[in-house]
């Protein structure tokens, strides 16, 4: 097997690993949160059982819904999986780096949100409309912030391709503590909470109509469709965690394709995910959900942080 082939195999392995780890990550956050709140909590692998159960259930579709409602889960899942091929999870550089850069990643995620919001409107339920409206409001502020925050890193790396950004930060460790990087980290962290529907923006555990965003939008989904959406949401959490972990603290990501380096990469990935899961669990235990009308304010803060990050990268280059 030549080097090129190994790259493609690694791409597929990385995406598969992400797919398999994602529900566990959600389970880990839930378990940590439960322990912090003095509850016993469901085991870490509970989300796997939930997915398996959902895949075995029949689907109920509203009589008002159109074909779009049935296509949307597949679009959401496919676009999220496509993103896992484009972000650095285990190793850089990989053969698909040239297929999409950070803008492709951001807009692919927007593609999923776009279709999911449309599907929220499709059954004609007021909850769906409410969720879609809120989700798009959050996304309209969050997606540009992601783009901007990573743009700040792209400027110092001289490329918008994520693999090169990672490689560049590893070659120049001082860059990791430059003001641009730190501001961008702050912005991306806030946006991670927003994009993955976490407190204080959205509460993944709620089913109270007046406060929920993501859950309201997918209220009409059931069975395998719901499973695909839940899995994609878990995958999105993993993608954002690995962006946070690997773009800002790239050490551990394999740059040579040897088994030892890859093993280190897997271990460091797990460690980074665990640390971030812990941070999110502590945060979700400590803070309450923001009122909906305050959410744009928080997102504006992260947007301005990202803008400052880009500007400082521009000027301090």
């Amino acid at each position: 097997m030549n080097v090129g082939m190994i790259g493609y195999v690694l791409e597929v392995a990385q995406a598969t690993l992400a797919l398999l780890l994602a529900p566990g990550l959600v389970g880990l956050v839930r378990w940590l949160k439960a322990r912090l709140q003095n509850r016993r909590g469901a085991p870490v692998w509970q989300p796997y059982w939930e997915l398996a159960k959902l895949f075995q259930k029949e689907v109920v579709v509203s009589s008002n819904a159109s074909w779009l409602f049935r296509v949307a889960p597949f679009v959401v899942f496919a676009s999220t999986v496509a993103v896992t091929f484009l972000v650095p999870i285990l190793a850089v550089p990989l053969p698909f780096d040239g297929v999409g850069d950070l803008l492709v990643v951001v807009y692919l995620l927007l593609l999923g949100t776009f279709f999911l919001s449309l599907a929220g409107l499709d059954p004609g339920s007021p909850f769906g409309g409410m969720g879609a409206s809120r989700e798009m409001t959050v996304a309209a502020l969050a997606e540009p912030t992601v783009a901007l925050a990573i743009f700040a890193l792209a400027l110092s790396a001289g490329s918008t391709n994520l693999g090169q950004i990672v490689a560049r930060t590893m070659a120049d460790p001082a860059a990791a503590v430059s003001p641009g990087h730190l501001l961008a980290f702050g912005a991306l962290f806030i946006v991670t909470l927003a994009e993955t529907g976490r407190l204080p923006i959205d509460n993944p555990a709620t089913h109270l109509e007046l406060t929920m965003i993501h859950e309201a939008m997918i209220l009409e989904y059931s069975g395998r469709y719901l499973a695909l959406i839940e899995w994609a949401a878990a995958l999105k959490l993993l993608i954002f965690f690995s962006l946070l972990g690997n773009l800002f603290v790239p050490w551990g990501v394999s740059v040579v394709l040897t088994p030892a380096a890859l093993a280190v990469a897997v271990v460091s990935l797990l460690a980074k995910l665990a640390v971030l899961a812990g941070v999110v669990a502590v945060l979700e235990t400590r803070i309450a959900k923001l009122r909906l009308f305050r959410v744009p304010e928080l997102l504006s803060v992260s947007f301005v942080l990202a803008l400052l990050a880009v500007t400082s990268s521009f000027l301090l280059r």
């Binding site: 509203s62 779009l68 297929v99 593609l111 769906g128 409001t137 009308f293």
Partner: protein
């Protein structure tokens, strides 16, 4: 006669015959002839553009068949590109117009509409080929007037005449600016060829004045904030295929003119030129999308998005101009190519969206989104086309809106090459605003598509809506194919756009060096992406995931039930989310006025909800000066005393003053 000359003759001939045929024939034959001639002319235009871009031949015609002398046509790379833009949208629009205007039979003048459509297409094509100011300005005026008469088609509807007045007033203010600019550039002789203007040496003050006038004149046509106010009024009231042509192509003449004058005739200028273009572009992009979010008139919403997208085009061009003045020719070419790419992309997806909206209006008889809903089941093909357009304008990969916005982003990333930090700092701000406006655009189109096409019909008219006839579907399909093709093949489009700049002075000749390799690789910066591979991957995943689910034995049962509603029985359209509610989170003020009982504030006497958008730009920049003008007019009216003696006195006075002035000047 070369192929290019032949195509040029066909182009001019077909449109001219179209005008005559429209005036002569009536009924389906008349509509057919209008569409046929328009289509032939448009296709000839695409062919001419393609031949000129492909072979590098530059046909020059000094129009011999016109009785007036002084008209000159010349096709270079820039004209060829805009001929293609006009042709692609023109072809779709004429075919669509055949079906769409059938509903006008017996109600409005189809002869005038058909003739003016061909006049508009002809004047657009002549304008981009014009080689002197006279030809350009004549075509410009013909374009404005023919568009004006088509805006007035549905003259008996409320608001149409007012919109047309705004349009004609602002477009003539722009025309005045352009006339002044060309008089400055050509030292008073409008028949001076563009080559002559290029070689003229002007003082820097004259050049700055010419640029300012060009930005004013072309900006008015392009709909740049704050000169955009006519656009969201005039575009929606025109017949939908004309709206598509106006939003897709006519406003792009502002872009063409700006490129022609600043890059070609003036050969670039100081950095503030580019900075100004970039600045107004940024403001337009953000304002346009914010106003669009508030709108629930489907066509007005699209019109506001034209303001946004012209803003994005101006961001690209402005960045290009800035790079040019800092001596960075490759990045300059990149910025201009990005602007041009977004020009053709916007022409295609906005044309498609207006045609889709036209089909909805055709079926519903209203533009109000709050009365729509559920149309995806009644008009499935129109819904698909509109969805495609909505995805493209929201810059979702792998469609064309994404490709050109990506290129604009890459251009701005190159901004760090500018040596002066105080100037370079505008680039990250532009990046931020561009990213924000594209995020908001996505939210806006979820609303536009979701409220219009999804869920339960909100009115009886929506329940009885019907699919558009085949000719309208064909028009939409043409532009839909163009959107997909332009999105998937930037590796072919970008070098072509680069080559269209090749003849222009002041822009890098290395524009030719855009990589032909599959990933769109950009000189100066090194971002990479490949929409084609991305699309392949997405399609593959969309096939593999359901297949895997089936193989792994996921449950495939599907039951149709009611929408869940907390136990209530029966769902009515009143329970659905509305367009206004969807954008509620962005609405800065409350429009609720509550009358309390004089004795206690706990007794409400009446509640009034008003949802009206009156943009402050119109209030501050237009309404107040207009009020002043009105007052001045009332004052001036006193001169009109009604007495013959008074008027004789005015005449004598004016005559004496003129004679004295003439004597004095000599």
């Amino acid at each position: 006669m070369t192929l290019a000359d032949f195509l040029l003759t066909i182009l001019l001939g077909a449109y001219a015959i179209g005008v005559v045929a429209a005036l002569g024939a009536r009924g389906a034959l008349g509509r057919g002839l209008v569409a046929g001639c328009g289509l032939a002319g448009a296709l000839a235009g695409v062919g001419l553009g393609a031949v000129c871009l492909g072979t590098g031949i530059v046909p020059t015609v000094t129009a011999p068949f016109l009785p007036l002398t002084g008209f000159a046509l010349r096709v270079d790379g820039l004209s060829a590109f805009f001929l293609i833009v006009i042709g692609v949208v023109g072809a779709a629009v004429t075919v669509y117009g055949f079906g769409y205007s059938a509903a006008y039979e017996g109600r409005y003048s189809l002869r005038l509409l058909g003739a003016m459509l061909n006049v508009l297409l002809l004047s657009l094509s002549v304008q981009v080929m014009a080689d002197n100011a006279l030809t350009f300005l004549m075509a410009w005026e013909a374009m404005s007037l023919s568009a004006y008469s088509m805006v007035l088609t549905e003259h008996d509807r409320p608001g149409t005449v007012r919109a047309a007045h705004w349009y004609i007033a602002l477009t003539h203010a722009g025309f005045a600016a352009l006339l002044a600019m060309f008089l400055l550039l050509s030292a008073g002789d409008l028949t001076t060829s563009f080559a002559g203007m290029r070689s003229a040496s002007l003082s820097s003050g004259t050049r700055d004045a010419a640029f300012a006038l060009a930005l004013l004149g072309f900006g008015t046509k392009a709909g740049i904030a704050p000169l955009h106010v006519w656009l969201p009024m005039a575009h929606p009231v025109a017949p939908s295929h004309v709206s598509a042509l106006m939003s897709g192509v006519v406003i792009k003449m502002g872009v063409y003119g700006l490129l022609r004058v600043t890059i070609d005739l003036l050969v670039g200028g100081p950095p503030w030129w580019g900075g100004l273009v970039l600045g107004v572009g940024t403001v337009s992009a953000l304002l346009g999308v914010l106003y669009a979010l508030m709108e629930h008139d489907l066509k007005r919403l699209l019109a506001y998005h034209s303001v946004e997208n012209v803003g994005i085009i101006f961001i690209g061009i402005g960045a290009g101009l800035m790079f040019q003045s800092f001596g960075l020719p490759t990045l300059a070419a990149l910025g201009i190519v990005a602007g041009m790419y977004h020009t053709i992309n916007h022409a295609c997806f906005k044309g498609l969206l207006f045609l889709g909206a036209g089909s909805v209006v055709h079926a519903m008889g209203t533009r109000n989104m709050e009365e729509m809903g559920g149309l995806i089941k009644r008009m499935p093909r129109t819904a698909c086309f509109f969805l495609l357009g909505a995805c493209a304008i929201s810059a979702l990969p792998p469609l064309n809106g994404f490709a050109s916005e990506w290129l604009v982003f890459q251009t701005l990333l190159g901004g760090s090459a500018i040596p002066q930090p105080e100037v370079a700092v505008v680039m990250p701000i532009a990046v931020a605003m561009l990213a924000l406006s594209s995020g908001l655009a996505a939210a806006c189109f979820v609303k536009a598509f979701g409220i219009t096409f999804l869920a339960i019909p909100r009115s009886p008219r929506a329940e009885q809506a019907h699919e558009a006839p085949w000719s309208m579907q064909a028009g939409m399909a043409t532009l839909a194919v163009a959107c997909v093709a332009l999105g998937l093949a930037p590796f072919a489009v970008v070098p072509l756009l680069g080559s269209s700049l090749a003849g222009l002075p002041g822009v890098a000749p290395t524009a030719m060096e855009f990589s032909l390799a599959l990933p769109l690789q950009v000189p100066g910066t090194s971002g990479q992406m490949s929409p084609l591979l991305l699309a392949l991957g997405l399609v593959l995943l969309l096939v593999l995931v359901p297949l895997a689910l089936r193989l792994l034995g996921a449950d495939r049962r599907l039951r149709v039930g009611d929408t869940w509603g907390c136990g209530r029985i029966g769902q009515t359209p009143r329970m659905e989310y509305t367009a206004t509610a969807f954008a509620e989170l962005y609405r800065p003020t409350r429009d609720l006025s509550i009358d309390f009982h004089p004795d206690s504030k706990y007794f409400v006497q009446s509640i009034e909800y008003r949802s009206e958008i009156h943009p402050w730009i119109e209030r501050v920049l237009y309404d107040r000066p207009l009020q002043g003008l009105h007052r001045a007019a009332i004052w001036v009216r006193r001169l009109q005393g009604g007495s013959l003696h008074l008027y004789l006195f005015y005449l004598t006075l004016a005559f004496l003053v003129l004679l004295t002035a003439a004597r004095w000047w000599r």
